[in-house]
Symmetry: C2
Subunit: 217 residues, 2 copies
């Protein structure tokens, strides 16, 4: 599995097709014919379809983790706010996607699939590859939100993850709808600019003591 033209053509095609249709719905024959390579090339270079799926993720995850770590080191002090952390996270995502040379929404799409499709091997692979970096970020975010009890914080982490992955992975569809509805084009950067304050506000909502009302607007 050396640096190789065939290998990269397969990764490119697989990445796009997986993001578009899902793993089970994308056959190796579709991938190889899109990539313009022989069917047997996948099993020769990657071993199996499962390993190919993992390789597609590794190509995104590795630059993303590196970029995130570097940005956290450079821009985040010991006591960072939730906004700075979120901005740092999304900047790293956009940066690393550019480094890989594929659209960020594709990465988000794949990440969403990793959660929703039944690919236990993939979840294990991602945790092994990404777990440490993920923990560093959530630790910093937790310290930035001391008013939340651990359980509430955990849930809000998932709210954030869901809002992010869901919207950014569907960015192309949403943009198409917005274009036809409001005749105004929008970029992924603009979507992130709307997402960051919204999520930041969601994270900072004061915890409701059981039975009380909600704060006035």
């Amino acid at each position: 599995m050396v640096h190789n033209d065939t290998v990269e053509r397969i990764l490119d095609a697989a990445s796009a097709l997986f993001a578009e249709r899902g793993f089970a719905e994308t056959s190796l024959r579709t991938i190889t014919s899109t990539a313009g390579v022989n069917l047997a090339a996948v099993n020769y270079h990657f071993g199996s379809k499962k390993t190919l799926i993992q390789a597609v993720f590794a190509r995104y995850l590795q630059p993303f983790c590196e970029t995130l770590e570097a940005n956290l080191d450079a821009r985040i002090g010991a006591r960072a706010g939730a906004d700075e952390l979120l901005q740092c996270l999304f900047d790293s995502m956009l940066e690393s996607a550019e480094r890989v040379g594929e659209p960020p929404q594709r990465f988000m799409r794949l990440l969403g699939l990793a959660y929703t499709q039944s690919q236990e091997h993939l979840r294990r692979f991602i945790v092994a590859e990404f777990g440490a970096h993920y923990s560093r970020f959530t630790g910093l975010l937790k310290a930035a939100l001391p008013q939340l009890d651990p359980v509430a914080f955990y849930w809000r982490l998932y709210f954030m993850l869901g809002a992010t992955v869901f919207t950014l992975s569907s960015f192309d569809s949403i943009r198409a709808i917005l274009n036809s509805e409001f005749e105004r084009d929008s970029s992924l950067e603009q979507a992130v600019d709307l997402l960051v304050p919204a999520i930041s506000g969601m994270l900072r909502v004061e915890q409701r003591p059981p039975g009380s009302g909600v704060p006035a607007p």
Copy 2:
């Protein structure tokens, strides 16, 4: 496709298996053997696998739409707040799931799959079945958030949808993690109680004029 024991056994099994593994990953043989019926029964009663998938959704969507409409009529005045509307939405979801007799997180899971799996026929079916009720709710919610411009509102609608579908559909996994981490069990109702104020706060965050900072906590 009359009211029939075999039909309901198939729907039960298909609903559970689809939610667990996805559509493409669940074969008709797995469904029929789980349901204890003959393989040919699916094509006899439903016509095809696609139609079966739609029937699974119809069994959830129809009671949910009825319940939501009734609750909106009963509890929501001309000028309702975002909180009331959200509470009404989630109450309707929990109510209708109980009426169908299946766990709400299963419905959320299926809804998430409808978005992420490539099933164009299913999206068309859901829009046709559910579009009018969806528009009524979003119209009310938009009126409750007059400070948001239409595009920002649209995006926040998706943030809300993502946070909801993602977390509630993964409720079982998240609960398992929380149990092992904090030794405290949690119910779906408690998760909804955490979700409603968080989403409500996210929706009510003031729109940031381009280039300005964020509001203080």
